[in-house]
């Protein structure tokens, strides 16, 4: 048994990053470093109005006074923020009417990723807003959405076309001062997506954005804002893959969700950025601030994430349950292998009456990786009859990895019911034996068990993603056993 285990482990660690390639598209880069001039440059390149430039400069001032957070259970060399590129845009910047005008090399890239835009356009009815190094290149299905009154466009376009909406909502959920990386993002965000669902509209398709970090050494600073007006519904998909690079790349995105009375936002993420090679060299630093607010009564925000990539993940999609009867959900599968480090979890802040939240977090660690769940459930005095259920399970594969749980549970209301449970274990030898006995090879058995273990979360993903997510789990872990 021992030798086969070793072989299997070796095999897993040798599974190279499948999506490692670089696209040779000419890139328009600003010089390295961060100062007011760079911010002015970004702003002028994007032809931004004065108020946005002021917002950026103010954020930059705030950022300069802040310190990098160091409480997460991750280790990495200090980032030199002056040694990064803060702006890079693919060169051919024409307004594109159809996909034919898109650089064929870019289209080829998407094919390698298994995302055929034409396919998706025709078959799945997914409108894809492709973000390639910070600038949107193609937006599809806008017309169909327009008929419904849904706005789905890049942040840059939104600033030009709907300035009053952006001015009202930008940084209203994640204030500039919120944290170090949110302030940095506010100062230098290059692009992102904006989505507005008007009153009573049910978005007919899954809105989807594919992110890629392409240019070496460019921090990617995405800004996403999703606003669901009264009684509307939207399902938003975010998926990411990035090419193989040796130097660590910084990604500090901010995602803000706002749900008005009776609205529902479902936000799903599949994150598969380059995790570094098997010695822990390279890989993406993913420091993301994601937060949603259930402002109105009976509103709902649901986060689903499958995290398999990035050298370091530092991410806590949160829900502020302000409206009475509002619901927050968090479903997560985080897989770490080799030298990956993940510190992820959620915050559920109960403010309104009869608010409910559910947290299901499944961690899988293999190789030399460390996987932490860090979460906060807070029941304020005003949150009468609040209800929370949290379950955080960890699966360990190999004796060199770590799985950690750091939940914070703060209850200030006696009518609240808060439950938290966590378990840590490995795949049982008896489980493997049972499968072997029935003619299932060890490697397949492990896939089976991990998939079953993560099923609760995978089931919450939209169909298009569920398939991809399952594949990702297999690539990340196949055959790993401790």
């Amino acid at each position: 048994m021992a030798t086969t285990e070793k072989e299997l482990l070796e095999k897993v660690t040798k599974t190279e990053y499948k999506y490692g390639f670089t696209t040779n598209i000419e890139s328009d880069k600003a010089p390295k470093g961060l100062n007011e001039d760079i911010i002015r440059l970004i702003s002028s390149k994007k032809e931004e109005p004065q108020w946005l430039l002021d917002f950026r400069l103010k954020s930059f001032e705030i950022w300069k006074t802040m310190k990098e957070p160091n409480w997460a259970h991750v280790k990495y060399p200090k980032i030199d923020f002056q040694d990064l590129y803060y702006y890079a845009a693919p060169k051919p910047k024409k307004n594109l009417e159809s996909l034919d005008e898109v650089d064929p090399e870019l289209l080829d890239t998407f094919k390698k990723l298994g995302i055929s835009i034409e396919e998706q356009k025709r078959l799945s009815g997914v409108a894809v807003d492709i973000v390639m190094d910070s600038v949107s290149v193609a937006t599809t299905f806008t017309k169909t959405l327009k008929e419904k009154g849904i706005i789905f466009c890049s942040m840059g376009e939104a600033v030009k076309n709907y300035p009053e909406l952006i001015q009202e909502h930008l940084a209203s959920v994640v204030p500039v001062k919120d944290n170090f990386y949110a302030a940095l993002n506010s100062a230098v965000f290059t692009d992102g997506s904006f989505c507005y669902i008007p009153k009573g509209v049910r978005c007919p398709m899954e809105l989807s954005t594919y992110f890629r970090i392409n240019e070496s050494n460019t921090g990617q600073f995405e800004r996403t804002l999703v606003i669901a007006d009264e009684d509307s519904y939207v399902s938003y998909l975010e998926g990411c893959t990035a090419p193989m690079r040796d130097e660590n790349q910084l990604h500090a995105a901010v995602v803000e969700l706002k749900a008005a009375k009776g609205a529902e936002i479902k936000y799903s993420t599949v994150q598969n950025w380059y995790p570094g090679d098997k010695n822990g060299k390279g890989g993406i630093y993913n420091f993301v601030t994601k937060r949603g607010i259930c402002e109105g009564d009976h509103s709902k925000i649901s986060w689903t994430q499958v995290e398999t990539g990035s050298a370091i993940t530092w991410k806590y999609p949160s829900c502020i349950l302000k409206g009475n009867h509002s619901i927050g959900e968090f479903y997560s599968v985080a897989v770490t292998n080799n030298h990956q480090q993940a510190d992820t979890g959620t915050k559920m802040i109960h403010i309104g009456k009869n608010t409910k939240s559910t947290i299901i977090s499944k961690g899988v660690s293999a190789g030399f990786s460390n996987n932490s769940y860090r979460g906060l459930v807070r029941i304020n005095k005003s949150a009468t009859n609040a209800r929370n259920f949290s379950q955080c399970d960890s699966l360990l594969m190999g004796d060199q990895c770590g799985a950690h749980t750091f939940p914070y549970i703060e209850t200030e209301n006696s009518s609240a019911q808060v439950e938290h449970e966590a378990t840590t274990s490995k795949i049982g030898e008896d489980q493997i034996f049972y499968c072997n006995q029935r003619g299932i090879a060890t490697e397949k058995a492990i896939n089976l068990i991990v998939n079953g273990y993560a099923k609760e979360v995978l089931n919450k993903l939209p169909m298009e993603f569920a398939v991809e997510a399952q594949k990702l789990l297999e690539i990340s872990l196949e055959g790993s056993v401790g």
């Binding site: 060199q400 950690h404 939940p407 914070y408 609240a416 439950e419 966590a422």
Partner: protein, 402 residues
């Protein structure tokens, strides 16, 4: 702006007057800074009042045998009493026990441990000889009788190979007294020994900070019960190292803060060796504007395969103004382990309450019954039945008063 002449007076460090500045323990303490809520370890416990409190060392003899006897019947125990940090020779039976009067060699970076190490006045050295059983359990009383006194106490307890002992620690503040009790207990459970400690805290308006450090050797078992019944500000830190194969640790507690009391329990179990088990059960019943804190951390080192660790924290909030902060943590570096924790905070089971009321039991009596039963899951684990009964009665009394 007009310049005015000011004299800058360096703020004295809290407690600096009590330490021996020339000793290495004193130096160690003076290098540490007073913990604030910005410090993760003290996130939920504010010590502002303690920082500015005017305290003194005071040697008095106010505690009587009756005071103690009113809480725990002393005839079943070997009694050792400390008042304001000083040994009360007249009340104590020191058979087989030495008074501890040497500074500990271990330099701690925990503020209050370092304080006690650098300035302690007294304590006991108890060594339970190999393959013997302590026939009469020890009743160790740490009391404070002066509202302005500071008591720094250091105890050392060793159970030698194959021995067995039970110690009841009573932390007591005389009715009108408050003061500050700062105690450190270092425990060494040698191989195949069994040690059970039952800690009763009846601390009135006093502030109490307790640090317990335990080393558990091969096949040894350590059980600790903490019953925090009354205490304006109580903080218990229990740190257990499971050093060798087969070591076992069980930490249990019930805290019943009421009024504006604050009770904080921190536990840390370090699984260093393989094949060790640990179990924790802490239950809280909070009323009025009381706050409770539970932070339990289980660390499983890479070598500690086949670890079995379980931790549960359940809380009942009886009032809308009470607050409970719970933080169960797992940090695991070995794969062949079974570790789990659970934490719940809620209210009384409405169905159970209704069931009792439907059978003619008054609501107040029903609540008392249910809460006592809730606590009894912990209390019934105490091996000494007399003591368990006594604790149950104390908890019941505490609840009916609120």
């Amino acid at each position: 702006m007009e310049l005015t002449q000011t004299t800058i007076v360096a703020k004295p460090l809290p407690f600096a007057d009590f330490v021996l500045p020339e000793s290495k323990q004193g130096q160690n303490f003076l290098n540490l800074s007073f913990p604030t809520t910005r410090n993760e370890y003290w996130k939920y416990t504010r010590l502002g009042k303690l920082k500015t409190a005017k305290l003194k060392i005071s040697q008095t003899s106010n505690i009587t045998v009756e005071t103690i006897n009113n809480i725990v019947a002393i005839d079943r125990y070997q009694l050792v009493v400390f008042e304001n940090g000083f040994l009360r020779n007249d009340l104590s039976d020191l058979t087989g026990i030495e008074e501890n009067n040497t500074l500990s060699n271990k330099l701690s970076n925990e503020y209050f441990t370092a304080l006690s190490d650098a300035s302690f006045t007294s304590g006991i050295n108890l060594k339970v000889k190999a393959n013997t059983v302590l026939t009469k359990p020890l009743l160790l009383v740490n009391s404070s009788s002066d509202p302005e006194s500071i008591s720094n106490i250091n105890h050392n307890i060793t159970t030698q190979q194959g021995s067995e002992a039970m110690v009841c620690m009573l932390d007591l503040a005389a009715a009108e007294g408050s003061g500050f009790l700062n105690s450190v207990t270092r425990i060494n459970a040698e191989s195949s020994s069994n040690l059970e400690i039952v800690n009763l805290q009846v601390l009135g308006k006093a502030t109490a900070i307790q640090n317990i450090y335990v080393d558990v050797a091969e096949d040894a078992s350590f059980k600790h019960f903490g019953f925090s019944l009354i205490g304006q500000l109580t903080r218990n830190n229990i740190n257990v190292n499971l050093n060798k194969t087969g070591a076992y640790a069980e930490l249990n507690g019930v805290y019943v803060p009421s009024g504006s009391q604050h009770i904080d329990n921190h536990t840390y179990i370090d699984h260093i060796a393989p094949n060790c088990n640990s179990s924790e059960l802490y239950r809280g019943i909070l009323s009025n504007t009381a706050t409770g804190v539970f932070n339990g951390k289980v660390m499983v080192r890479q070598a500690a395969q086949k670890t079995n660790a379980f931790q549960a924290n359940n809380n009942i909030l009886l009032s809308d103004k009470a607050t409970m902060n719970s933080k169960p943590e797992l940090e695991i570096y070995a794969d062949d382990v079974k570790c789990s924790h659970g934490s719940t905070t809620g209210q009384m089971d409405k169905d159970a309450l209704f069931y009792l009321q439907a059978r003619g039991i008054k609501k107040t009596a029903a609540v008392k019954l249910l809460v006592t039963a809730f606590a009894d899951d912990v209390v019934s684990r105490v091996s000494d039945e007399h003591l368990a009964e006594l604790i149950n009665a104390m908890i019941e009394k505490q609840i009916s008063e609120n």
